[in-house]
């Protein structure tokens, strides 16, 4: 049998094995997500509250001029839809990394990390799996939004997909990068408030940046420097079959930087080692 020779001769891993591992991780993440109904519901309710209530109220307050990629005057609901899609991904990215902190504390993470495949690849699979889950949420949102007269061109549903994958990866790796610096679960909520809310509000998700510039030039620069703004714009343009090249570049570069940072910074012993000095299991 060939299995005898595999014991001693290093043989590396085939592309098939990498693919099996990737699909397995995505499959398991999907299963877990489906089991957590509340998570799915809250992931949907959050943007819908913004859409149904906030946007309806603000419709009269904020006038939107014709700005690219839109070709006509649009309702405020239509304007904030891409921002809400990005918000879904932002929350999902943070939630995925939160569950990684949880997994690490509970020991489940060990199952993943004793896989013989390279650790960087395993973490990359985790990010892709989280992104896949965010896609489910975003498309479910788009479906409901369609009944609310948010009707991008049919081809937009397809062209937005690559943009969503990229922005999902960026926000997921940002979450992982942050979680790698967090020692324990309890600290997570605070950090999230410092990340999610400033990122969301200081962006083009809720108001076009020219409006912000009128109010405060400094805030405008802050928004421009916010990677989340570019995730929103990338999605907004892609939803109408266009490419915002600057946003694409910013999101792509941020994705690479965050991902490399997250993989390098990810230390599985954190949280496990904590028990050592505490005098528990040595």
């Amino acid at each position: 049998m060939s299995s005898i020779t595999t014991r001693d001769a290093p043989r590396g891993f085939s592309a098939q094995e990498y693919l099996t591992c990737l699909t397995g991780i995505v499959w398991r993440e999907g299963l877990r997500f489906l089991h957590q109904r509340e998570r799915f519901v809250s992931a949907l309710v959050r943007p819908l509250v913004w859409l149904f209530i906030f946007a309806a109220g603000f419709r009269q307050v904020l006038g939107i001029s014709i700005i690219p990629p839109y070709e006509t005057y649009i309702l405020y609901e239509v304007y904030i839809a891409p921002g809400l899609m990005a918000m879904i991904q932002l929350f999902n990215g943070m939630q995925s990394s939160l569950s990684m902190v949880y997994d690490r504390e509970m020991g489940n993470m060990r199952t993943l990390l004793v896989s013989p495949l390279p650790r960087g690849f395993l973490l990359f699979c985790k990010l892709l799996a989280g992104t896949a889950v965010s896609l489910l949420q975003v498309y479910a949102f788009l479906l409901i939004a369609w009944f609310w007269d948010i009707t991008p061109p049919p081809s937009g549903y397809l062209t937005v997909l690559p943009a969503l994958i990229l922005s999902g990866l960026m926000l997921g790796s940002l979450g992982m990068l942050i979680s790698s610096g967090i020692k324990q679960l309890e600290n997570f909520a605070g950090v999230m408030n410092f990340v999610i809310f400033p990122m969301f509000f200081a962006s083009s998700a809720l108001y076009p940046l020219w409006r912000v510039q009128e109010g405060s030039p400094y805030l405008y620069y802050l928004c421009e420097a916010n990677p989340f703004t570019h995730a929103v714009e990338l999605i907004r343009f892609a939803l109408y079959g266009q490419i915002n090249w600057i946003s694409l570049a910013v999101v792509a570069i941020c994705t690479i930087v965050f991902m490399i940072g997250a993989i390098l910074a990810y230390d599985p012993s954190r949280g496990l080692a904590r028990r050592g000095p505490a005098g528990g299991e040595g």
Binding site: D8, G12, R28, M106, L113, V114, L122, S269
Partner: protein, 268 residues
């Protein structure tokens, strides 16, 4: 500390039956959490088809050692290799020969038994069809076939442990590590698990490292490593360790070696 290990390089010994390659070899491993030393110059090996008991009290450093062998922690000094594959240098080759049952439960409680096994198989790059066949076979062996579709949450503690052992065997490792696998189980479940693992040693030639603080889990033919406060106090065949300590049984030998006053679960 950095003495060259007398281990044949894997590339030079393509023949698996080369007896010189231990299943697990630990050479001069030390580890510290900040200022606190958890392991000091630990060296021992586990032979294929042998049952090696790693005996130590809670806090002796057993779990730290397991975390180093499984690459959860980086190795600070010394060397760990699995069938000649250095865990730091070629973790992929080392880890694919290794099955682990950690002390804390690491199953997905909301997934079914089969789903847990398939996930593990995927992490080892085992294709779906092969994985399904192996899962069904292993579930049969641990007597849980009819529970295959139920959630893990609904299993008893002993059943979960058996499932974890089955999972650890799914990728057909040659070395199996178990970290206090019987803790919290009733007498029957304990006996089942011990006899199952001993069967793996004799029938499949798997090398087993069994960490425990329970003396009655160790038998006369076993190899014994006594770990205390991060140091190896004695190692060798169980009967020899006991005899050299001038004792009649493992319990007394352990107390003589460590100078411990009281034992968990046993009187002084």
């Amino acid at each position: 500390m950095t003495t060259p290990a007398p281990i044949a390089e894997p590339h030079e010994t393509p023949r698996p039956e080369a007896a010189a390659v231990p299943a697990l070899s630990i050479d001069g491993v030390s580890h510290a959490y900040g200022a606190r030393r958890a392991l000091t110059d630990v060296s021992f090996s586990v032979q294929p088809a042998s049952f090696t008991a790693l005996l130590g009290l809670n806090g002796a450093g057993k779990s730290t050692l397991f975390s180093l062998i499984t690459r959860l922690f980086g190795i600070q000094s010394g060397r760990v290799s699995i069938f000649g594959h250095d865990v730091s240098k070629s973790p992929g080759e080392a880890l694919r020969l290794l099955g682990v049952v950690f002390q804390p439960r690491t199953l997905d409680l909301d997934l079914s038994l089969t789903q847990n096994l398939l996930y593990h198989a995927a992490l080892h790059g085992i294709g779906r069809r092969e994985a399904a066949a192996r899962s069904a076979e292993l579930l049969g062996r641990i007597g849980l076939t009819e529970r295959a579709g139920s959630k893990v949450r609904d299993l008893s503690g002993g059943q979960m442990r058996r499932l974890e052992i089955a999972r650890a065997l799914l990728h057909r490792p040659r070395l199996l590590l178990l970290d206090e696998p019987t803790v919290g189980l009733d007498v029957k479940a304990r006996a089942d698990i011990i006899s199952h693992v001993r069967q793996l040693v004799t029938e499949q030639g798997i090398g087993v490292l069994w960490a425990t603080h329970l003396f009655d889990e160790i038998m006369a033919g076993d190899d014994l490593v006594v770990l205390h406060q991060g140091k190896v106090l004695a190692l060798g065949p169980m009967t020899r360790v006991v005899a050299e300590a001038g004792a009649q049984d493992v319990n007394t030998a352990f107390m003589r070696l460590t100078g411990a006053q009281t034992m968990p679960g046993g009187g002084a």
